[in-house]
Symmetry: C2
Subunit: 152 residues, 2 copies
């Protein structure tokens, strides 16, 4: 590439609690458990994994409530929905939004998901907004291929 550029570490996740409070949104007991589970997730969750993890803390939580809560957080822009190149069926994955965009790399060999943040992506987004007159609200960049380890 022409301009050398270090890969910045990922920006911090939003603090869901703080954001919801700031917007005056109150949570029921179930939603509180779900929000906490999402906030502390160590990997990309699909609806059913989230459900399983949340049920460990509140066995009464229903999968429909999981979807309804995810829908609310999506609409508020607090979580992003990913496809991860449909590596594993058609389910969606969810992650807490961050102040800066990042992209996802899905390895067709081992299923590993990598994340990468770069200014070039932010700049591209801005270029598109200006060139197309489009007010971008959300975006998703996913690459599929073979990771460093699976190429060998």
């Amino acid at each position: 590439m022409s301009v050398s550029e270090a890969a910045p570490k990922l920006a911090e996740r939003y603090d869901l609690y703080a954001e919801l409070a700031r917007r005056g949104i109150r949570l029921t007991r179930q939603r509180r458990v779900l929000v906490e589970t999402i906030q502390n997730a160590s990997r990309h969750l699909d609806a059913e994994s989230l459900w399983r993890q949340a049920r460990a803390r509140d066995a009464s939580i229903n999968l429909a409530t999981v979807y309804r809560t995810l829908g609310m957080l999506k609409k508020l822009g607090l979580v992003d929905e990913l496809d991860l190149m449909h590596l594993e069926g058609e389910k969606h994955y969810y992650e807490v939004s961050r102040a800066r965009a990042h992209l996802h790399l899905a390895c067709f060999g081992c299923g590993r998901i990598e994340e990468y943040q770069t200014e070039a992506f932010e700049r591209l987004r801005q270029q598109v907004e200006e060139a197309c007159g489009f007010a971008i609200q959300t975006g998703r960049l996913e690459f599929g291929g073979r990771c460093r380890h699976c190429r060998a």
Copy 2:
């Protein structure tokens, strides 16, 4: 943006027939109709639209055959599968691949899909390959927001 750059017109679609012939792949009658329909589609097709269009020419074609043919073309890298930000349910859309990557803009207001090709996307892809050691086979960049007309 820092570097002014004209938006190139989209690169040409692959010629599916030629590519299949080059690889020594022969088509059945149904697949021939499907390939032609995809090649000449004027907009992004989902499986059912493709089915409807193809059935106008061969009423016997089954939806399962549509999916099987799309699967083959995907695997060969001749068509790309898009989500278009799930603007309309969870179905997928298909388009003939092109020599250069382009991105999609989905308007949440009117449902319009725009396409945009820029060198910056190609460069970003290459940067990612080098920085992450990833051999990218396919990629998808989609933005959702409000188009020029819906912002007014």
